[in-house]
């Protein structure tokens, strides 16, 4: 079976932590859905790990919101937001491995029309 055309993940990493929220779907996630996924990832982390990535979640949120206002982003995309205060690789990654991410609803409609 063919893989869905829009795939990627948001990932919280360090030497001791690896939590992610992935997507693989026929329609590109909108930027609002991207922010929801980011929230869900945050919820998966312990209070301590959330606190360590407080600023990095804000940076990722800014990136997704900017993308939403600027036509989304198309794969391949990878961004790492690091917390340099820690020596254990504490960071938050955004990976878009196929298709589009953080688009506006209008762009989703256009992409669907184009594919059909």
């Amino acid at each position: 079976m063919a893989k869905p055309p829009h795939r990627g993940r948001l990932q919280a990493q360090s030497d001791n932590v690896e939590e992610s929220k992935a997507w693989a779907q026929d329609k590109p996630p909108t930027w609002q859905e991207g922010l929801e996924m980011l929230n869900k990832l945050e919820d998966k982390l312990s209070k301590k790990e959330r606190e360590k990535r407080k600023e990095q979640f804000k940076q990722a949120e800014r990136f997704i919101t900017n993308a939403g206002k600027s036509g989304g982003v198309q794969s391949p995309i990878k961004k790492s937001f690091e917390n340099e205060k820690f020596d254990d690789g504490t960071r938050l990654d955004i990976e878009v491995s196929a298709g589009w991410f953080a688009v506006s609803i209008a762009l989703v409609a256009l992409i669907i029309i184009f594919v059909l």
Binding site: V73, K78, K79, S80, E82, E95, S97, V103
Partner: protein, 135 residues
Amino acid sequence: MKHLFKNFLEDKKIYRLNERYYQSMFNEVLAQEVQPFYRTTYGNGESFLDGNPIFSTAYHDRIVRIIQKSPSSKPAWRVWLDQFDNLEELVISLELTDQSSPLVRQFVQKWLVERLPKEDMQELISEQKARPLPS
């Protein structure tokens, strides 16, 4: 220690020169014209211009991704191994200085040209971590 392309985040022209600096370095190390791997633009064509990443390339089944930070008094240098899809990735997060630039070249050479196994690369990363760059 001297920072290179100091105002790359403030001046678009300097940012473009900075990108070309990596492009030339990678071209030399790989002895061919390399292409950036990751996109660094939004759907409307506008560039991120945030250094995250400032340059990347894929060579066979391996990637190098460079994240460049703005200058500070204690230059950042962090390296880790990661994956993107089915490709192995070396990530270098740094402040570009006259000290870190030769190190980038060395790590790219080891990872993409000599194709060091991941375990050996990890050892090299740990060795370098134990010897911080001079401030």
